[in-house]
């Protein structure tokens, strides 16, 4: 793939939004640093202001007060359209332009930036390929001829077209069926690993946050940050009651997928039973135990007992505290 722009750091300082004639702020003094190249997920119940906060970053919603600094540059007052041409934007409702072909849709921002035609065409084809749509087949079609999932992919391709350093995504996979959604999530995760853009991802689905986020910001009313940390930190050490209730039950079970076997203490020697590589997670090991294994071999290092797995979990917990 051609040279990609890697992500830039985003600093949000005391971002506030107060709508006229309302009793309180929709978003109140939101402070957050989103590290460059990371995917940060804003997660929280409906109405907590997570989408409003995200939309203030590219000023689709103008902040009432506060500062936005991207890549060290204060962009709070730069002309909005200039700012947005360097930020990819994917919304839940997709919003493809129905009167334009798929290719033209994807080419929107390069066109606004004045790229020459051949460069644009090459880039559009590259991106359609990237999201799994054959350009020769889909390029000249119109949005209404595509399924919901296909339209989502075009939306992502369109957002990436001008190779922005920052990507804003508001429940981008929400409008698809569960099967397609899982597929899209996995594909996005793989893509993000490769592209390393700075992504702000909004969702109300905690599982999606766990899957996609390098960091998760759990938000409550007025976008108050209840906790900001890695998925493992949030699961193993929820900071407040609100986070706890949001995380829900069976935190330990869900943590299993986030801890790899490489750091776990193993007994020496191999035994009868299944083998897993070091890169596998505790979850695969648990799968083995549930289905009848007495011990799991970890590569050639040795074998893992059930008790060892239990203590691995509790030490992860303690470590996070």
């Amino acid at each position: 793939m051609s040279n990609t722009t890697h992500g830039q750091e985003i600093r949000l300082e005391k971002l506030t939004k107060r709508y006229p004639n309302t009793a309180k702020d929709a978003v109140s003094e939101f402070d957050l640093v989103i590290p460059a190249g990371e995917c940060v997920v804003f997660v929280g119940p409906s109405g907590c202001g997570k989408t409003t906060t995200m939309k203030m970053i590219n000023r689709i919603i103008e902040p009432t007060s506060g500062r936005i600094v991207i890549g060290g540059q204060d962009v709070t007052k730069t002309p909005a359209h200039e700012l947005r041409r360097n930020i990819g934007y994917v919304i839940q409702q997709i919003g493809l332009f129905p009167h334009m072909t798929i290719s033209d849709n994807v080419a929107t921002v390069p066109q606004l930036l004045g790229w020459d035609k051949s460069k644009t065409r090459a880039r559009v084809n590259e991106l359609l390929d990237l999201v799994g749509l054959d350009p020769s087949e889909y390029g000249s079609r119109y949005p209404k001829q595509l399924s919901g999932g296909q339209q989502q992919r075009v939306g992502v391709a369109r957002a990436l077209a001008a190779d922005p350093a920052v990507l804003l995504m508001d429940e981008p996979f929400g409008a698809t069926d569960p099967i397609t959604r899982v597929r899209l999530q996995k594909e996005f995760r793989a893509l993000q690993r490769e592209l390393k853009k700075t992504v702000v991802f909004v969702t109300h689905d905690f599982e999606e946050a766990l899957l996609l986020g390098d960091r998760i910001a759990v938000l409550s009313d007025q976008s108050k940050v209840e906790q900001y940390g890695t998925p493992l930190e949030i699961l193993s050490a929820p900071a407040t009651k609100k986070v706890e209730s949001f995380v829900g039950e069976a935190a330990s079970v869900r943590m299993l997928g986030l801890v790899s076997l490489s750091g776990v203490s193993v007994a020496s020697g191999n035994v009868d039973g299944p083998t897993l590589p070091e890169t596998a997670t505790l979850r695969e090991a648990m799968e083995g135990f549930i289905t009848g294994a007495k011990a799991i071999n970890i590569g050639t290092k040795g074998h893992l007992t059930f008790e060892a797995l239990q203590s691995a979990i509790s030490s992860t917990r303690k470590g996070a505290q």
């Binding site: 590219n58 929107t108 921002v109 990237l130 992919r153």
Partner: protein
């Protein structure tokens, strides 16, 4: 993203054949209509050339008079439609912008009044004040016919999915770019429907040109009516209908040509 498994294109095939059928249906009426118009015109021409005309009828039923009347009628209709378009579409666009939205009720009331006025009375007053002739006729007819296009422009723009517009702004379009590249193209079908309505309306109203030295097919209808000469009256009426049908056909053809694909 790894190349996803090819999605089964459940809808593409059926969609294509459905569009093809729709296109044929649409085009069928576009072809039939002008043929009908030609048949009726030919029938009228033959009937008139064969008719035995008395002195009164000969004044209006002759090639020179009729062609002049049709020509004037077309001038009146097209010119008023042009004035209406020049005023109503920009007005409609302005009224859907956030800053001017609040003026919408007042403007719509004014446009409605234009339709409610007794047309002949207003026409004559305007003629006395500003001078009789085609110009005042054209402006008066424009006032009468402004409502459909104004309303359709507003509605056409308002009913665009707001998330499409949000997307456009999110991509980094300026408001003007979004208007030109996204909003107007999407509103075109509704606006054009309004244009078609207006054109038919102005063809009807243009028959009043006879009262203010504007010419038009009223110069057959009114004498035919007052002098009890049915042939003249009916000829004027049929010609007006033919002109209206022709306008309708032209507007429909324009709608077909200008409708953006994909909607």
């Amino acid at each position: 993203m790894a190349k996803a498994l090819a999605q089964p294109n459940l809808t593409a095939g059926s969609m294509y054949s459905q569009s093809a059928r729709l296109i044929f249906q649409r085009h069928r009426s576009l072809i039939i209509q002008p043929i009908l118009i030609l048949i009726i015109s030919a029938g009228l021409a033959i009937g008139l050339s064969r008719a035995h005309l008395d002195v009164i009828e000969k004044v209006t039923i002759n090639k020179k008079f009729i062609f002049r009347a049709i020509q004037d009628h077309l001038i009146l209709s097209f010119a008023s439609a042009a004035v209406i378009l020049a005023v109503a579409i920009p007005a409609g666009i302005l009224l859907t912008r956030r800053r001017y939205k609040k003026f919408t009720p007042i403007v719509l009331i004014l446009a409605n009044i234009g339709q409610a006025f007794p047309a002949v009375g207003v026409l004559i007053i305007a003629g006395i004040l500003f001078g009789f002739g085609k110009p005042i006729a054209i402006f008066s007819f424009a006032a009468f016919g402004i409502l459909p296009i104004l309303r359709n422009t507003i509605v056409g723009l308002q009913e665009i999915d707001p998330f499409i517009i949000e997307s456009a702004m999110g991509m980094g379009m300026t408001p003007k770019q979004a208007l030109r590249q996204i909003e107007l193209p999407l509103a075109v079908p509704v606006i054009l429907a309004g244009v078609r309505t207006t054109l038919i309306l102005t063809v009807g109203v243009a028959t009043l040109g006879v009262f203010v030295n504007g010419g038009g097919l009223g110069t057959l209808i009114i004498p035919g009516l007052k002098l009890n000469r049915e042939l003249v009256l009916v000829t004027g009426g049929i010609l007006t209908v033919i002109v209206a049908f022709t306008m309708d056909w032209l507007a429909r053809a324009a709608e077909e040509l200008l409708r953006p694909r994909g909607i």
